[in-house]
């Protein structure tokens, strides 16, 4: 695969704060890669550095093998979809989209063709002359995407674009964005703190924490084989048991089985631990059972599904077990 973006030893300091100590990554052509992490982990800063809106304190940025580290944003062939869209309020949809083409002095006829194409792509044809101020969040978001895409950038940067939308709309837009990326074959670099979103849309997920790359892998690997306790706990829910040394044992709630105290047979050869149920929470598709383990302060959470036969209640004694193959050892 062709290399598209490369970050070499990128560091970023604001005053005396080191936001990003030493970041390295190579992003390939046609990938949908997501930078995932909690607020303040540096993911947006990295994105902005690729766009040219921030400069790294040290390190190099390469775009299609060209060193762009000191290049201004308006000279880079990347475009960004901003978090709150940043649509120009004094221009209508068409003029917003046209802006980049005007700046690059694209001939008028070509401008029209490209604008028409992108309006079709984002289903905004009827909004051509509308003012952004009169549009819903979802519509504004599509204008922002159209405005970026019309310039045929090599890389599209998306800074938490779906954050302001409600749940259903967000789900819909996630699919649309994924299809758009696949259809156009562009490289998408996506930033979000929503791990579900990252897993749904991405070919590759980069989990960040305090400016450090925790793990860089496909969504499947990130979920089932997290390398560190941070990744294991940030992605989905997880239970942890401390082990010797710098390691911990992680087991997903849906892999935990419960059995009655008297009846160990269902556990087979697996070791059973005992505890008391302290809370049962109804979450729609699942029940979350919280068990306080004997002889320790650990609380384990287990998912129980509708077709499980035993309706668990609080203050019941219960046996907790799992298959050895579902265990994951992580660094603490």
């Amino acid at each position: 695969m062709e290399e598209m973006v490369r970050l070499e030893h990128i560091t970023k300091k604001f005053g005396n704060n080191i936001i990003i100590p030493d970041f390295n990554i190579t992003i390939y052509d046609g990938e949908f890669i997501t930078l995932l992490g909690p607020s303040g982990c540096g993911k947006t800063t990295l994105l902005r550095m690729i766009a040219g809106l921030e400069t790294p304190t040290s390190g190099k940025i390469f775009l299609a093998d060209q060193d762009v580290t000191s290049l201004a944003p308006y000279k880079r062939d990347v475009n960004m979809v901003f978090q709150n869209y940043a649509l120009f309020p004094h221009m209508n949809v068409e003029d917003n989209i046209r802006f980049g083409l005007t700046m690059k002095k694209v001939p008028k006829e070509e401008q029209e063709t490209r604008i028409n194409q992108v309006l079709y792509l984002t289903q905004l044809e009827t909004f051509r002359t509308r003012s952004p101020l009169q549009m819903s969040g979802g519509q504004q978001q599509r204008v922002a995407i159209a405005r970026a895409l019309v310039n045929n950038p090599k890389v599209l940067l998306l800074d938490e674009p779906l954050g302001a939308l409600d749940y259903k709309l967000r789900k819909k837009m996630q699919l649309e964005l994924k299809n758009l990326q696949r259809g156009l074959g562009l490289t998408f670099i996506y930033v979000t703190h929503d791990q579900e979103e990252a897993l749904t849309m991405s070919d590759r997920v980069v989990v960040m924490h305090n400016g450090v790359l925790e793990q860089d892998a496909s969504p499947d690997v990130i979920y089932h084989a997290p390398k560190s306790k941070f990744v294991a706990s940030f992605i989905g829910e997880n239970n942890f048991f401390d082990l010797d040394g710098n390691k911990a044992l992680a087991i997903r709630p849906q892999k935990i089985q419960l059995c009655k105290e008297e009846d160990e047979t269902s556990a087979g050869n697996n070791k059973v631990k005992y505890g008391t149920i302290v809370d049962v929470v109804f979450c729609g598709t699942i029940d979350k059972i919280y068990v306080r383990m004997d002889n320790s302060n650990d609380t384990v959470v287990a998912y129980q599904y509708l077709n499980d036969t035993i309706p668990w209640k609080c203050d019941t004694r219960v046996g907790v077990w799992w298959e050895k193959k579902d265990e994951v050892i992580v660094e603490k």
């Binding site: 308006y74 649509l87 802006f99 700046m103």
Partner: protein, 261 residues
């Protein structure tokens, strides 16, 4: 609004004060149409004092001076002030204290101090008093007002729009021209109008830096008042008032509408 006697008292009191503010001005306007030379007795409605003004060469000269000075001062102060306001809004500066001092002191210090300091400056540097010194002085006190007015409009400025423009291949100048400037324009015009109003109306500072042959309208009015009451003063004052009122209303209409919570 509380609908009880509290509000009745408040409203009446407020109306009384408004009346207090406007009554003298209304009386002045009224008497500019009075036929009588001795103001107080009303003898008839006439425009003759206004027509007399049009034929008064010195009034025309003062008016011309005022307009020229106001136009030049407005242009220069609005340009310098807008540039400064945009920069102050966008960047943080090291010497914030000095900048704030230079910015706000001209407004807070009594005008008389500013006026005489300019007089001292001009005389000690050998610049003869005249239209030029008036222009220089007017620009000086207008700049601060322009910076504050434009600055207030820039408060809602969205740097993300400028970043978006940059992301869309606009050079800094293009981003300024297509994004920052159009959005700031109402504020700039408001600032310009305020500068114009201040210049036309200025008395105290002009008093100190005007030369013998360069009168402005307010200075002319002062000279007339000192010499004695004449209905022409009423007419002239009324004209100035009306001009000021129009300028203020237009400038206020350009201020951003406050969003209701």
């Amino acid at each position: 609004m509380k609908k009880n006697w509290h509000s009745a008292v408040l409203v009446s009191y407020s109306l009384a004060i408004l009346a207090f503010l406007y009554l003298p001005l209304l009386i002045l306007t009224l008497y500019s149409f009075n036929d009588s030379r001795m103001n107080a007795v009303w003898t008839g409605f006439t425009f003759k004092w206004y027509t007399a003004l049009l034929h008064n060469r010195r009034v025309i000269e003062a008016l011309t001076n005022s307009l020229i000075i106001a136009c030049i001062s407005t242009f220069v102060s609005t340009t310098l002030g807008t540039m400064a306001a945009i920069a102050l809004n966008r960047y943080t500066y090291k010497f914030k204290g000095v900048i704030n001092g230079l910015l706000y002191l001209p407004i807070l210090i009594p005008e008389i101090v500013m006026g005489l300091s300019l007089l001292v400056l001009f005389s000690q540097t050998g610049i003869p008093l005249g239209k030029n010194t008036l222009i220089l002085a007017h620009i000086t006190f207008c700049i601060s007002f322009v910076i504050i007015t434009v600055g207030a409009r820039l408060e809602g400025r969205r740097f993300d729009l400028e970043e978006a423009a940059s992301d869309l291949y606009a050079t800094p100048w293009q981003a300024f021209r297509y994004i920052t400037l159009p959005l700031a324009l109402p504020g700039i015009i408001a600032g310009g109008l305020i500068a114009f109003t201040l210049s036309i109306d200025d008395f105290v500072i002009s008093f100190f830096v005007a030369g013998p042959n360069s009168t402005t309208l307010p200075l002319y009015i002062y000279a007339m008042v000192k010499r004695g009451i004449s209905p022409e003063i009423n007419a002239l004052s009324t004209c100035m008032m009306m001009t000021t009122i129009c300028l203020v209303i237009v400038s206020q209409l350009l201020q951003p509408k406050k969003k209701s919570n």
